[in-house]
Symmetry: D2
Subunit: 376 residues, 4 copies
């Protein structure tokens, strides 16, 4: 089987480019072959050499080479700071190249809706948004169980993402990641909300299939910081259910502590990323724990199809991100007319990207208006 | 050593009177000897006979008998529905009898402030409020570690209490507990908030030593229910820190899932009631778990003095409630001039009772005003 | 309802007398009224005064006073070092007084079989052995589920008890508990095995209902210690299943880490004392967790009848020991002809005591014979 | 950087070839380019096509092509049933090709010692044994902490591996994996012991750095099964410490439940594969939990160098196996004279392979001799 060829935009300096590199590579059905890894030509060459790929200081040149038939590419992965996403994604889609884009999808809502309009026209160039956690098999199972009616009507959703890495003003100490994450010019209107609050949101909404009507928010930042590092939101979901979303980057000792508890009229479903291999269903009396790659009659075949190793050997973050690439890969192979391609799961894309941008705008507005409810 | 003699008001029908009965009895230093266990004389006699105590259909008669020297009592425990607390507690204190009162302390804020005024004058009749969870040794340790500066300045507090027993309209099915808990005439202005939200509040404030400046709330109830069964509050604490308080009674599968995560400038402290024997301290790299009755150099003697059994054999709910009675017992014995009485820990009393009432009022108001911030 | 009157033998100096005192008292249906708390008359008086009971330096005098009608007693609790159990229990039973005896039941197997012979004749004086862990509601449920065929045929049992308190030679430092526990004259032929290995054994056998055919053991002790502090046994159960029993007192950091994993032909059942409120059933795909006082259709009424507080508020060690006293109380009340007495659960007694003694003898012999299998 | 080229022997039909394929690929520094994936030419071609590699029905032809300069290979991974390992590994080493070999290393001890003799002569062809669990970062940290003296002298080691997949006679139902695992002709003298007991052994010995002097064992199998499916061993380690090794394949609900508890004179260290991201250190009072990729002053640089992603995003089974390939890769690159190659960690190799074979022989002998202690 031919491996899909992937180009990357960004990723040379930060840690996350390498993360995508591994998630792309691990199934041995995809490989990174080219990269606009850095804007500085010397650094780009250095990184390209390390990765063993063709380097392009300018991402447009990479696209052009592909257009010209000088470079074999099946899709592009965008791993740049937020303010660059829209321009780069638009250029790829416009050229007909499928995209796996980091989130939050854009810098402004306007960009997001423009990108959506373009994506709708470019049906042969699928657009995927790397809400990595939705790639976990157990989150896919949670979504399926809810669809099957296992917990009845959703009544309340608690979703959270706690980190501690910004408990000090790292941005004043030359930390690159902290610098752009807390800089409005690069990250947009929200720091914590944009970085991890949107994960908490999409984890919950994608899993329940519900929309978000309005929010009331409390955002704060440590003295001396420009963007929120603590981001808490009450919401009302499309069916009237209550949303409680809490996220923070000042909870010392918390690393990537995200998850959700979804309370329905017939039971509850709960998942935590730091024990991603388990999914819990609670009826009134007992708790039933489902395990990754340990299937029951309730497990749809499509969920099974994302498993790689026997139960008890966990698939974790890289595999979850790999699953998002797998979904994109399946779509691309199907569009190419390959035979025997398994069905792609319905992972987040352009709609979740727009939703994330609307959510950030509403939350920031509500917090400024002292908690007033703001409709999306 | 003479056992303290305890009278009880209420408790004959509901389950919680028996809970206090056991918490009073377990140390074999206190015993219930009399009780106005029920207003119905026949039922009162039945319960009194079962418990092996002297029964009084009218609590005033019990107090009168004590006053007249016909009954030996050291203090009274009040376990009636909320709307009765104030009158009964006032009568006890007025007569000079110490009180252990169930929470929330009163039905209205006015009652609470009146009770406080009386309590301040009756220094020989200590007043204790049964915020049971504060009796857990590990919550006492959490409070001491925070006092010692272990986590630096408190920046954010997440406190929660999740239950599922009101996920259906039990009050329509003749459930006694559900009936009065969801009845504004008996419970006051808030259902979930009054029953368990106040626990979440006092757990957090008592442990951190911080006050509460203002709140923004979202309260809801299932259709057909008169009082909130889902009660969520953002708050600003006296030092400017953020409070996130979530409580619910519709989270199917959750029993008495309360606890807190307190994030400070130097570390985090976390505790969960359903694993009450552990307390976690997180620095940036590791998590240190302290165990009940397993002491370190940081454990104050007064905390040790509340331990009963070797570590690894847990002291749980009855023992925690027992500790509140122990604190009251120590105060009473000291006031009587007994020698060698250990120091009483500073468990919740009249001030926490007033705070709870103010909090409920502000939260209910904020929710009605669509999340507007309301100052306490 | 009249409280049962309890006399205690031993318990004045060690911590465990006070533990029984609390377990007896917590239900407010039993009370300690007399005690041969210490052999030293002055100390006995001191402890009796502290406890508020009548003191007897000589336990025989206490029995005599009861016989003479000068003291009201319903049963006696024996909390002395092992070498004294047999004589004291025989004296009680001979006089017709029911007994709650600490384990291991005796000092020698001969004593155990003599005691059994006497107990069989004294049907009106029930004999209970305080294998405390069997009093946990979830262990009772485990036993019932196995009886119901939930896990099919038992194929392998892993049972364990890990402690760390003897990781140093405490007996050389004047520690009273360590001194008699490591002294063959007071404890018998085994230290760790007698103290906690028998708990691990009875936990497993009582729960499965299986007997023990033969054992192969490895016992060791730290240099300078007289009795084993590490006690590991392979066994063959009466149905041919394999037993793996591990117990130790040198596992630093372990407090009372006992529990079992029972593997059957249809599933597994697992319980751990340090999370006593949960019981796990594993089929091939999921894990179902049962919670204390949270009942399903599988929960027998007799198991429910031992619950005290709502689920989510745990009943732990004192309550479990209390349950053993409750079982004895129910037997005594029924023998007295009281009406409406609930049925007593089948907690360990004389047969488990004899089994424990045989087990210790066989394990010690096997270890000396370099692991040779020894038949019980 | 040039990717290392890997050839594979076996792996076409079973699941584990694909597991190695992913572990090799995930870092994008190694790739499988050729494979003797199956002995059946048609199947070999089919698998080679799926994998996108050059297929060789005969592994010798693959080696010959490499020798002849027709195929670029840096090392070979052997994933065949046990009875084939020795011949294939010998052929590779003899030709000068480094090897990553599945365990148990051989079919007989004779083969193992022959292989060892050859490996010692072929210093430019490193030999690695895929004891995958030792690749976990936290197991590497455990080993380093013990070396640093953190727990003092090792006194007792409990190591375990519980599975449930052979709780029924799958080998009678056409299950390929079960068929060869329970077939003495393909697996050797032990089933459970060879498959997972050796993992439990090497996990413990490699981590502590101790040797094994002698064993006493109890092995059983379900009726109708030819090799043990339950394998329990007491051992004496080189320093006199006690080993308790338990492994089973009939524990329904257990997947890959392996781990260890190591008790020393100053503390305990404990790790469980199904929560591989945590390592626990217990002193007498508290438990300190270390997290993967969350480093302290005690973490050696070489351990850090194996981390891929930020703490809180777990590296699990594929990454652990990847780490073994990384260690082999580092050795190969260093031997080739590449610059800037990080130091390889000391993962298991030929000596652990020989030890595993000796251990299996001694355990099987002891069990046949009714638990007699057998010296290795």
């Amino acid at each position: 089987m031919r491996k899909l060829k992937v180009g990357m935009i960004g990723g040379g300096g930060g840690f996350f480019g390498k993360v995508h590199h591994r998630a792309i590579s691990l199934d041995a059905t995809r490989e990174v072959v080219a990269g606009a890894l850095h804007q500085d030509p010397a650094l780009c060459e250095k990184f390209a050499d390390e990765w063993g790929v063709v380097g392009y200081p300018d991402y447009k040149a990479m696209i052009a080479d592909w257009k010209a038939g000088n470079l074999d590419l099946d899709y592009v992965t965008i791993v740049t700071p937020n303010f660059l996403h829209a321009e780069q994604a638009m250029a790829c889609l416009a050229a007909g190249l499928p995209v796996m884009c980091e989130k939050p999808m854009c810098y402004t809502l306007k960009e997001a809706t423009d990108l959506k309009a373009l994506a709708k026209r470019k049906k042969n160039a699928p657009f995927a948004l790397s809400h990595t956690y939705t790639g976990h098999q157990m989150m896919m199972l949670a979504r399926e169980l809810i669809k099957q009616g296992k917990i009845g009507d959703v009544r309340k959703v608690e979703t959270y993402y706690n980190q501690g890495w910004l408990a000090t003003l790292l941005e004043k100490e030359g930390n690159q990641q902290a610098s752009w994450r807390t800089n409005p010019k690069m990250s947009g209107i929200s720091g914590c909300g944009g970085d991890i609050g949107t994960h908490a949101l999409i984890n919950a909404l994608w899993t329940t299939g519900l929309g978000l009507k309005k929010v009331s928010a409390k955002l704060t930042a440590l003295p001396g910081r420009k963007l929120d590092d603590d981001f808490n939101v009450f919401g009302e979901l499309s069916n009237g259910a209550t949303l409680v979303l809490t996220s923070t980057q000042i909870a010392i000792g918390h690393k990537n502590d995200n998850g959700f508890r979804i309370y329905g009229s017939k039971g509850s479903i709960e998942w935590a990323q730091e024990q991603a291999e388990e999914l819990h269903f609670l009826d009134g009396a007992t708790r039933v724990t489902y395990f990754q790659n340990s299937f029951t009659a309730e497990t749809p075949d499509i969920v099974k199809s994302y498993g790689r190793i026997p139960s008890g050997h966990h698939e974790d973050f890289l595999e979850a991100l790999g699953n998002l690439h797998t979904s994109l890969e399946r779509k691309i192979r199907a569009l190419k007319g390959e035979k025997g391609v398994a069905q792609a799961y319905d992972h987040p894309g352009i709609d979740e990207g727009v939703l994330g941008m609307k959510f950030l705008g509403a939350a920031v507005t509500s917090s400024k208006k002292k908690g007033a409810w703001v409709t999306l």
